[in-house]
Amino acid sequence: MSALLRVEDLRVRVDARRGTSFPVDGISFEIGRGETLGLVGESGSGKSLTAMAIIRLLPTRAVRMAGGRILFGDQDMSGIGAKGMRGIRGNRIGTIFQEPMTALNPAFTVGFQLREPLRRHRGLGRKAADDRARELLEMVGIERSAQVASSYPHHLSGGMRQRVMIAMAMSCEPDLLIADEPTTALDVTTQAQILDLILQLQQTHGTAVLLVTHDLGVVAESCERVVVMRHGKILETGGVREIFHAPQHAYTRALLDSMPSRNVGKRRLPTLPEEVFG
């Protein structure tokens, strides 16, 4: 299987007053077509910066890609200009973030924001875009699609907003969906429904998913392969069963062992040898 996305020796550099650092420090991995890959790590691991580097949305000028290659299909993404990137983002790569309110524009209706990429990337007319927007809302399980399309983001609950964002991300039927902590801000019952929805869409459309998360439970139930990151480096990569049943790296083992759900009825949670967690 040829890789859909290949990240080779990626480095992200941050220049701050206190000096230069590499929060992503030479990582390589790939995602096959239609595959779900979990990129898991604690805060400061560099997992989100990796996702941002792929879609070239690193936060400021002080944070930039400082080495390595990102291949999308057989295209080297470094050769694509800003305009070309706009043609890829939202079109061939869809994105979902933790906080939908930062990604949705409060000044426009949900319907408008759904129609916009369809008109831009797919050249649909107003009526066709409108029909497609309603169809997308229904696809993500929103029943009163007309009503939701005419409302503003702040009128909707957190779960509904996340559904809208998924509808937007899926609107142009991307090859790759990058989901950065898509359910972290949601209640657990909503989280289960949203994860279900992402996996359903993945199966029906054959979309590959890069799921960035700190939550090992979420990874266990939705990913086929897992990349474990820490301090900007990859510690191990493997199939989801290997990672959970036979982790190779001491950090992965310690992380799994310290989860409360694996220690019910025990007096204490195992805490990490200092040399592992530091």
């Binding site: 429904q193 279900d196 049943h245 694996r262 805490t271």
Partner: protein, 289 residues
């Protein structure tokens, strides 16, 4: 073991947002529970369940509309402001967000000494000793008193939050999502610390959390809240092993398990979650079976 804290029929009403005059919204609606001395009672629920409001009402940080709160035989809601203030020394709160709860302009030493300064007549030297002892008790160092909150990691800041709550030697500590902002590895350290402190000091915890796994590890007893009501309560291990209320079942079914082989039937789970969310709140448990 007797109840340190007894709550009966607790109600908090707010004016309905965007509603007509006189319309009210019940954030919590008739909450009952008992917290046994030296034990942990968890309040578990999702956003909007009223779990945090319940915690705040118990301490009268938010004034409840009606009901009763009895602490060590004393009717808290009947106390005037001065007597309530005197009681607060025995009951403290730990918050989730240490950025909001620890003043960034104060040193850790000043933050921790503040309750002593207000309540106890101690010399600066005595205060400093007490602060140093407390920092060591929560796994930090006495020298840390001279630093500012931002110089610490998230886990260390929560240790400081716990230290401040314990300065006046309370018997009851309300913990409102104390580890929700922390990484898993750090969360384990803070939970262990809280258990150790409970054993050592005989603390009673009212432990508010959305995280079932954390609750299962920490709590002796549990109440499950949904839309302001208690839908199920009992011994934690029993409730979680054999949930009776459809909402509790949905909540448990939805928790992701860190085992790729655990989730066998997604369709079944979907059905349990949908049924639980659609069920009438606090419906008759027997008829729901």
């Amino acid at each position: 073991m007797s109840a340190l804290l007894s709550v009966r029929g607790l109600v908090k009403e707010y004016p309905q947002r965007g509603g007509r005059r006189g319309e009210i919204f019940r954030a919590i609606d008739g909450v009952d529970f008992d917290l046994r001395e030296g034990s942990t009672l968890a309040i578990v629920g999702e956003s909007g369940s009223g779990k945090s409001t319940t915690g705040r009402c118990v301490l009268r940080l938010t004034e409840p509309t009606s009901g009763s709160v009895t602490y060590d035989g004393l009717d808290l809601l009947g106390l005037d402001a001065d007597r309530m203030r005197a009681q607060r020394a025995h009951m403290q709160i730990v918050f989730q967000d240490t950025y909001a709860s620890l003043d960034p302009r104060w040193t850790v030493g000043r933050l921790l000494a503040e309750p002593l300064r207000l309540r106890e007549r101690l010399t600066p030297g005595q205060q400093r000793t007490r602060v140093g002892e407390m920092l060591e008790l929560v796994g930090l160092e006495a020298e840390h008193a001279d630093r500012y909150p931002h110089e610490f990691s998230g886990g260390q800041r929560q240790r400081i939050g716990i230290a401040r709550a314990l300065m006046l030697k309370p018997r009851l500590v309300v913990c409102d999502e104390p580890v929700s902002a922390l990484d898993v590895s750090v969360q384990a350290q803070v939970l262990n610390l809280m258990k150790d402190l409970q054993d050592e000091l005989g603390l009673s915890y009212l432990f508010i959390s959305h995280d079932i796994a954390v609750v299962e590890f920490m709590a002796d007893d549990v109440i499950v809240m949904n839309k302001g009501r208690v839908v199920e309560s009992g011994v934690c291990a029993q409730v979680l092993a054999d949930p009776k209320d459809p909402y509790t079942r949905a909540l448990l079914a939805a928790v992701p398990v860190p085992d790729p082989d655990a989730l066998e039937d997604r369709a079944m789970r979907r059905a349990v979650i949908e049924a639980g969310l659609a069920a009438p709140v606090g419906g008759d448990v027997e008829s729901a079976r």
